[in-house]
C-alpha cells in the first residue's frame, strides 16, 4: 500500500453503489481508501465496511462540504501527502486515478480537477446545472484569468498544502465548488484540469437538482466568492 496516498469517498445514501465504487478504485490504485458516511439513512456504512475499508461516520447529515472536509482532516492527521476525492455514486471513472496522483505528485499542479467537458462523455447535465456551470466558468475566468471548464466536479486530486488549507473553518459546509477554486488560486496554488470520463448518476440524483436547490447553490457560491474578493490575498 502506498502510504503517502489517500482516496476519500464522501457518501450519503449510496448503499447500492458504494461496494462497486470501492472495487473499481482498487482495480486502479493501492492507496488507502476511506468512506465518509455523511449520516446516511441506508446501509452505506455497513456496505463500505463489508468492502473492507475504513468508514468515518458522521452522527448526522451535515452536507457534502463537511464530508470532504472530514476526509481532509483525516488525511492531515494521518500524514498523507496526496489525496483524491471521488464521488460515492459511481459517476467518476476510477481509471484516471493513477494519472491524477502522478500529475500532482510530479508538481504539475497543486489541485487537479477531473473535467467531464474536456472529453466526449455520456454524461448530460440538466439545463439549470449547465447554466450554473457556464456562469461559474465565466466568473472564475474573470477573477483568476484561468479557464476551469468543470468547476462543479467533485473528482479532485490535491497535495497536502491544499487539503491543509481546506480544513479551515471558512470551508463551505455544502457546495465547495467555484468559490474554493478562487480561494486557492488567490493563494497562489496552481489549479489544472484533466479530461475524465463521467457517467450519469445511476438513480438520476443530483445535489444541484430542483429550482430551490439550484437557487440556494447560486446564492451560497456567489456569496462565498464575494466574501473571498473582499478578503486580503494571502500566500499558500
Amino acid at each position: 500500500m502506498n502510504e503517502n496516498r489517500l482516496i476519500i469517498i464522501p457518501a450519503y445514501n449510496e448503499a447500492k453503489q458504494i461496494a462497486s465504487v470501492i472495487e473499481s478504485i482498487r482495480q486502479h490504485s493501492d492507496a488507502e481508501i476511506i468512506v465518509i458516511d455523511d449520516g446516511s439513512e441506508d446501509k452505506t456504512a455497513e456496505c463500505a465496511k463489508s468492502a473492507g475499508v475504513l468508514v468515518i461516520r458522521h452522527p448526522f447529515n451535515m452536507g457534502a462540504g463537511v464530508a470532504v472536509q472530514t476526509g481532509y482532516k483525516y488525511a492531515l492527521k494521518s500524514n498523507y501527502e496526496t489525496l483524491i476525492q471521488i464521488d460515492g455514486d459511481g459517476q467518476h471513472h476510477a481509471a484516471h486515478i493513477p494519472e491524477m496522483f502522478a500529475m500532482v505528485e510530479n508538481r504539475r499542479c497543486d489541485l487537479l480537477i477531473g473535467s467531464r467537458f474536456l472529453k466526449d462523455n455520456p454524461y448530460k447535465t440538466g439545463v439549470l446545472k449547465s447554466a450554473a456551470i457556464r456562469l461559474f466558468r465565466r466568473v472564475i475566468r474573470t477573477i483568476t484569468g484561468e479557464t476551469i471548464t468543470d468547476p462543479t466536479s467533485g473528482y479532485r486530486c490535491m497535495n497536502r498544502k491544499v487539503f491543509q488549507r481546506l480544513t479551515e473553518d471558512d470551508f463551505p459546509h455544502d457546495y465547495p465548488d467555484a468559490n474554493t477554486i478562487i480561494v486557492l488560486h488567490r493563494m497562489g496554488f496552481k489549479v489544472t484540469e484533466l479530461p475524465v470520463m463521467m457517467l450519469p448518476n445511476p438513480e438520476g440524483r443530483s445535489m444541484h437538482r430542483g429550482i430551490f436547490k439550484i437557487s440556494h447553490y447560486f446564492f451560497n457560491v456567489f456569496m462565498a466568492i464575494f466574501i473571498t474578493l473582499l478578503t486580503k490575498k494571502s500566500k499558500g
Binding site: I36, L54, V55, I56, H58, P59, T70, Y74, D169, H173
Partner: protein, 117 residues
C-alpha cells in the same frame, strides 16, 4: 400618556424583568442572552416616566406620533434580536460541525487501531 397607558406599560416592563430573571435563575436562559431583554424592559420603564424623551425621539426620527416611534423601535429591537441569534447560530453550526467531525475521526481512529494488522 394617560394613566391607564402608564399602568399597562409598567406592568409589561415589570413582567419582562420577572420572567427573564426567573428564566436565568432556573437556568433556562443563559445570563449572557438576557441583557437584550432586560434592556427592553428598562427602556419601556424609562419611557413611562420620561414621556418627553419619547416625544423628543419622535421629533428626532421625523415620526408623527409617539406610538409610531414605539413601533419602529420595537421592529428595530426584533431585528437586532434576530441578528444576534443568527450570529450565535452561525458560531454554533461551526462548533457542532467541528465537534461532530472530531467524534467521527476519533471513532474511526479507535476502529482502525482495533483492526488486526
Amino acid at each position: 400618556m394617560t394613566f391607564h397607558q402608564k399602568v399597562f406599560a409598567v406592568i409589561v416592563s415589570l413582567a419582562i424583568f420577572v420572567v427573564i430573571i426567573s428564566l436565568v435563575r432556573n437556568r433556562k436562559l443563559r445570563a449572557e442572552y438576557s441583557w437584550l431583554w432586560l434592556a427592553t424592559g428598562f427602556v419601556i420603564f424609562v419611557l413611562v416616566f420620561w414621556y418627553d424623551l419619547l416625544v423628543k425621539l419622535t421629533a428626532l426620527i421625523g415620526a408623527v406620533a409617539p406610538t409610531t416611534t414605539l413601533f419602529i423601535f420595537g421592529i428595530v429591537f426584533l431585528f437586532l434580536l434576530s441578528l444576534h441569534f443568527a450570529i450565535k447560530i452561525s458560531e454554533l453550526s461551526d462548533q457542532v460541525k467541528n465537534l461532530a467531525q472530531k467524534i467521527s475521526l476519533l471513532e474511526a481512529q479507535i476502529e482502525k487501531s482495533s483492526r488486526p494488522m
